[in-house]
């Protein structure tokens, strides 16, 4: 990835660099349908039925996304309805990722059993075990700027990276984009959900005395 691609000028970089760009450019136009569906689903009193995910898969993804962006004293992926966003994504714009998800979920299950014999699946592991599993799965992977660790079930790295990327979008996208239920993600990061603001905006500009020329004149250095 070319990191001089600037946030100012490069939408692709804005959404996660080359990997994100490839993902994004591959998805049009189904993403809008997915976004709308997720938006409706998370707004509904009763969660909509999953369209692609089995109940088992949904439960595992819910546990995984909640581990990627946990709920603590502020909302996490679960409160933002990320799993509903993912379900519809896998039916539409991310349909070609479905094999990655299936393979990845199987791999996570297998790895869970290897690491913690007797624990049947990721969602059944306790929180400490879940963190340990994800730490192992991401250790030395591209997520940590390294190479995939030997011995991981095949497909794990692709899956975790794709899942992280899509989870972040589902957590923080403007609700008009179908995620971020009731601004859960924005609340967590301190983004006021309003769309119109008046200066002063924050701590440092509240006592600004107004523009003054630099002391000692403005002659060129």
């Amino acid at each position: 990835m070319n990191s001089s691609q600037s946030a100012r000028r490069d939408f692709l970089q804005l959404l996660g660099g080359t990997a994100g760009a490839a993902w994004l450019s591959a998805q049009w136009p189904g993403v809008l349908v997915a976004a709308q569906h997720a938006h409706n689903a998370v707004k509904a009193k009763q969660p909509a039925a999953f369209e692609v995910l089995t109940a088992d898969q949904a439960r595992e993804l819910d546990a995984l996304t909640a581990c990627l962006i946990p709920t603590d004293d502020s909302p996490g992926a679960r409160e933002a309805g990320v799993v509903y966003f993912l379900d519809r994504a896998l039916k539409t714009f991310a349909a070609e990722d479905l094999p990655t998800y299936k393979k990845g979920l199987d791999a996570v299950q297998q790895f869970t059993g290897e690491l913690f014999p007797g624990v049947p699946r990721f969602s059944a592991a306790n929180p400490e075990q879940q963190i340990k599993i994800l730490t192992e799965l991401t250790a030395d992977s591209d997520l940590q700027k390294g190479v995939p660790r030997r011995g991981l079930p095949p497909g794990t790295t692709d899956f975790i990276q794709t899942l992280r990327f899509q989870t972040i979008i589902g957590f923080l996208v403007d609700p008009s984009g179908g995620g971020n239920r009731e601004f859960a993600g924005w609340k967590a990061i301190g983004r006021d959900p309003a769309y119109s603001f008046t200066a002063p905006f924050g701590f440092y500009d509240k006592d600004y005395p107004g523009w003054q020329a630099a002391p000692g004149g403005t002659e060129k250095k």
């Binding site: 600037s6 939408f11 990061i189």
Partner: protein, 553 residues
């Protein structure tokens, strides 16, 4: 605005057909129709309006709602002519009425006097193909002023000691200061620099029936829902339509300039939304399609008369691309800055506009204090590189830093390198079956060195401002370009330029080019102001030629 709207038949020979409705095309349309000419503007993209714009990042970034779509309009990239280009997203431009001015950041810097004659001052630079402009800053000054007053620019005259002379103050005061501006001022002044309120093409006061900015925070990348951003769409295109002589025709993808046997352009051939081809006849053709599509269109318009592409006797069509060097540094502070509110840029500094040659490189740059992350973009790119990528610590970093971070953006010179630029890919086609854009680009080593140096100054400013943490992207060779400058440069010598100082092509009497491709040097990073000043000037020159009967003869 429906009053006075006009439509022309394609067979009807209008005075001018303009290809592109962006920063320059919009200005040319307004000026020429105001001057009494019948004008058709052909725009590739749709005609969107304020009510169509959205904060939906997925729609904007994913659907390419406002920009060229790499899926239907692929491009290919290679570093040098010796390489085989591979398909990858590598160029972006606005693809809707208003062009890139709909989604841009709206930094409006004038060029300085030095930008017009830097080659004479510096002499030849190995590996670069520098030239002076055939016009001067003084020639362009009245038109810069016209941009500020007519398009709508907020700023404070005299605030930067490095500013070139100006004939009038800005029409509006600067936008309110943001936290990043206060902190940048604090740090930069401690180091003896001269930060000043950013000149921005965003209204700080209601003007001409348009609203002032309400600081929604979805600016760069997004269309403005209240017309506060001074895009061509919000500013000059309504004025063009109001004349009753200008038709804006969206969804019209021009792919050929039609010529007659006498070497005169007779009009532009385009696909409509149903992909039916039409020829719009005109007495003269003006290409304002941007620094990628203007040369592409010339290269697509080959004939036995023009086997190397139209207006390309010099071989300069598509060459010498200067996308501006750039790098970002970020700083994290103790208290909430809340810079996600509002427009992007608050303060600018031009102390490095002309760097000391003793430093070992050429050119210069500008630094600005800004915040242009959406929440998703911040989570993907806004955190220090050593931040955990998931879990409690990731979330904690997000929640602590989202509102406490700002960026210093370093923009600078790109030297023209002859082999850098756009050509037609021999293999890859777009969804219409036309040869795709092929980008060949490798930064001149000088530019990388200068950018590194500026990045180090930005990090010092963060320290002086009291940043808790600071970090930056590494400076690397660019593979994705947005500032599309220099690819049909202006000059007096027909052997080393494509257009003359009137924007007329050296080779075709009734064919004019006016957009980023016309620029001879890159300036220091913010070209739109200059592209529009050139368009106002070009409209004056073209009007004078037409009135003297020197175009349709």
């Amino acid at each position: 605005m429906t009053q006075g709207k006009v439509t022309y038949k394609t067979a009807e020979e209008v005075d001018f057909v303009i290809v592109g409705s962006g920063a320059s095309g919009g200005v040319l349309a307004k000026e020429l129709s105001t001057n009494g000419f019948r004008v058709v503007v052909l725009e590739q993209g749709p005609y969107l309006h304020e009510e169509d714009f959205t904060h939906d990042e997925i729609k904007i970034f994913n659907e390419h709602f406002l920009t060229n779509n790499p899926k239907t309009q692929p491009a290919t990239f290679r570093k040098t002519p010796a390489d085989t280009a591979k398909a990858q997203p590598c160029v972006m431009y606005g693809r809707c009425v208003g062009g890139s001015s709909v989604h841009f950041t709206a930094n409006y810097w004038r060029l300085h006097d030095i930008d017009f004659h830097e080659h004479s001052k510096t002499g030849d630079i190995p590996g670069a193909n520098c030239a002076d402009w055939p016009i001067t800053y003084a020639d362009l000054e009245p038109y810069y002023t016209k941009v500020e007053w007519e398009v709508g620019v907020s700023g404070l005259a005299g605030a930067s000691p490095f500013d070139p002379p100006r004939s009038k103050p800005y029409p509006m005061p600067p936008l309110p200061v943001k936290g990043c501006g206060v902190l940048f001022e604090r740090g930069a002044r401690k180091l003896g620099y001269h930060p000043y309120p950013a000149p921005m093409a965003i209204l700080s006061k209601p003007r001409a029936g348009r609203s002032a900015c309400d600081n929604c925070g979805f600016c760069l990348g997004f269309g403005c829902e209240i017309g506060a951003k001074s895009s061509s769409l919000a500013s000059v295109i309504p004025l063009a339509e109001k004349t009753g002589r200008c038709e804006i025709r969206p969804n019209s993808y021009v792919h050929r300039i039609e010529m007659d046997k006498n070497g005169r352009a007779v009009g532009a051939v385009y696909f409509d939304a149903q992909r039916n081809a039409h020829l719009q006849r005109a007495k003269a053709v003006i290409l304002a399609a941007n620094g990628a599509e203007t040369p592409r269109l010339l290269l697509l318009s080959t004939s036995s008369q023009f086997p190397n592409g139209l207006a390309n006797s010099s071989g300069y069509v598509g060459r010498n691309l200067m996308p501006n060097s750039n790098v970002v540094a970020c700083g994290i502070f103790d208290e909430p800055i809340n810079d996600y509110k509002g427009f992007a840029v608050s303060r600018v500094m031009h102390d490095f506009y002309e760097v000391d040659p003793k430093l070992g490189f050429y050119g210069g740059g500008g630094l600005d204090a800004r915040y242009d992350f959406t929440p998703v973009a911040f989570a993907l790119n806004g955190l220090p590189p050593d931040t955990p990528k998931w879990g409690k610590e990731f979330k904690k970093a997000l929640s602590q830093n989202f509102a406490r971070t700002f960026e210093i953006f370093c923009h600078g010179t790109s030297l023209p390198v002859e082999s850098n630029g756009f050509s037609l890919d021999p293999d890859v086609k777009d969804a219409w079956g036309l040869p795709a854009l092929r980008l060949t680009f490798r930064d001149h080593p000088n530019d990388l060195k200068m950018t590194e140096w500026m990045r180090d100054r930005a990090l010092e400013i963060f320290d002086a401002a009291g940043a808790k943490t600071k970090w930056s992207n590494p400076v690397t060779e660019q593979q994705f370009v947005v500032h599309l400058l220099g690819t049909c440069r202006m000059g007096n010598d027909a052997k080393s330029s494509v257009i003359n100082a009137d924007h007329r092509t050296h080779d075709v009497k009734n064919l004019f080019l006016c957009d980023g491709s016309s620029m001879v040097t890159s300036g220091r990073g913010q070209p739109t102001m200059t592209i529009q000043a050139l368009a106002y000037r070009a409209a004056d020159r073209i009007t004078a030629l037409a009135k003297r009967g020197e175009i349709s003869a």
